[in-house]
Symmetry: C2
Subunit: 309 residues, 2 copies
DNA sequence: CTCTGCACATAAACCCAGCTTATGCCCTCA
DNA sequence: TGAGGGCATAAGCTGGGTTTATGTGCAGAG
């Protein structure tokens, strides 16, 4: 692959910065540049100029100014919606990063598997912050063994693992399900099959996979063992992202966690290939030292992770 | 509600800017600060300092520097994954904004309903750009009537609408389905029901809704007509976002498009309430003037919107 | 019919984050 | 042991974003 051609001018130059996007959301919410400025803690002229330069940058009028306030234009409403998604992603980033800072005096110390830390935890932390602002959370991400160890040595209060069973010495509860699914590029022949793929066919096909040792790989190996075992992979890559990129461009399928490809599926960058009679589910569990039911902030967080109380 | 307390220091001050996040992704991909710097078109010291200040800001070591290159630390890998989501949201923003600029010489003029423009189109545009870089797309967002008019007057080449039937004078094809779902805050009693909600109960409950006239509202009205008709809404709001916020805080349920609440459902900020025997589906359609099958870029885009060719 | 209040715009001056160029140190490999 | 790749430090510059101060336009009250 090598260095792909980067865009002539980077995203950062074509997309307003986070401060500007937050300001736009405030304008949409409050209906006036001045009020938005006050809410964001800047002066009114600063807000005015910032919105204006954003309009210049995008080449679209975003707000309709009047002596009685400002309303979004139609285009502005659309831009604001897209901006909201950027800001939400940034909020998740912030929530995660803050937990990662991992200060010793945190009131709640969480240990989580990579997949959960990556895809689910930031959202939970945002919800937790909404309910109990000021709860300092620290996060340590690692595999199931590392999570168990932290809990057993008292270095963590609550753990999250994905896998088939609860590690020795821990109690736990199922908080959700993940599913490994077969994905391919939209151009791949499998997306046009009229008959469902069989497990044996899948097993016989060289796939693009994570390297041996990843949780995903283990589950897949186990599930396909009685269908002839997994064929030699076409490509073994170190990160889920690299795998996704390769699936899109190399035109070979892969098997990935539903959590990891949700975005790609709805955007149709990838397509799920149903496989007859193959269930690649795995449970997502919250875990804690046997006998010590979570209390305080841990209990609060636990409540957020389950569909119903 | 009023002006809620904004955080003491805004997101923009706690989250590195897009340029820094892009740089981090480049470092992750290329394995060296210098190469990443070159790829992003800046000098090596600039990259070094930027990564360093990001580490200082987050309070976490992100890359392990060595005389032979730089690798991500464990925390760095996690941060990079979260960063990727921010950058992806920014890419969607950019793709949408660029189309909105709507230059007259665009090779492909698209008219789309708000929902589709907001949630689906940016992803399609990114995919289109990947396949056919340089295809200038312009976007006009409006309701079904506006879309139809643009197509019939030749002001647009391809349209997207959600609804029950194809507007007069247009041909179309179904490209997907949307579903209206009942949602409530996780704390709402409905999330703890043991028996499924019935359509009649739903109809009898005051909901938080979009204002009369929105597509969502129309479909809901029609579906509940034979279950006693919709009760007077508890609250009528102008934007989907306002409705979502109200559902979370006011503890009353609402009915919203699946597309609009996907994020909230996975983050458990909202919970879907199943309703027995109520199907609130609506089709998403690509449309074009009757008899004029899409060709060229329009055909290309159309191909991206469907699960299989 | 004018006065007051609110909202946005303009102008001038300032500050700092981030960039570049120049240079040095460290490690590896031939 | 010399060459090259990789990162760090230093010094100087630039521009975007900010503030304060002030001006304009409109609405509604008196």
């Amino acid at each position: 692959m090598g260095d792909e051609a980067e865009p002539a001018v980077s995203l950062a130059h074509r997309v307003p910065d986070l401060g500007a996007l937050e300001l736009l959301l405030a304008v949409a919410r409050l209906g006036s540049l001045g009020r938005a400025a006050r809410a964001r803690g800047i002066s009114q002229p600063a807000a005015s100029s910032r919105i204006r330069s954003m309009e210049r940058q995008l080449g679209v009028a975003l707000v309709e100014r009047s002596p009685r306030g400002s309303r979004l234009t139609d285009a502005g409403a659309l831009v604001t919606d897209w901006a909201r998604r950027v800001v939400e992603a940034a909020e998740a980033f912030d929530a995660g990063a803050q937990a990662l800072r991992g200060r010793r005096d945190s009131r709640l110390r969480v240990a989580a598997s990579m997949t959960i830390a990556e895809y689910l935890l930031p959202g939970w932390l945002i919800a937790l912050r909404a309910q109990r602002p000021g709860t300092a959370v620290s996060l340590l991400a690692g595999n199931s063994r590392a999570v168990a160890e932290r809990l057993l040595t008292g270095a963590a209060d609550l753990g999250f693992v994905e896998g088939l069973e609860v590690p020795e010495g821990l109690d736990g509860t199922v908080i959700g399900h993940d599913r490994l699914i077969v994905v391919a590029a939209p151009s791949h022949p499998w997306t046009r099959r009229r008959t469902e793929l069989t497990a044996a066919e899948l097993a016989a096909t060289p796939l693009i996979l994570r390297e041996r040792g990843s949780g995903t790989r283990q589950v897949l190996d186990a599930a396909l063992a009685r269908h002839g075992g997994l064929a030699a992979p076409l490509l073994e890559l170190a990160s889920t992202t690299a795998v996704k990129a390769a699936v899109v461009s190399e035109a070979a399928p892969s098997v990935l966690s539903e959590l990891a490809v949700g975005e790609e599926l709805t955007a149709r960058r990838l397509v799920e290939i149903p496989v007859r009679g193959l269930r690649l589910g795995r449970e997502l569990r919250a875990v804690w030292p046997a006998g010590q039911r979570p209390a305080g902030p841990a209990r609060q967080l636990l409540g957020l992770t389950r569909p119903t109380a």
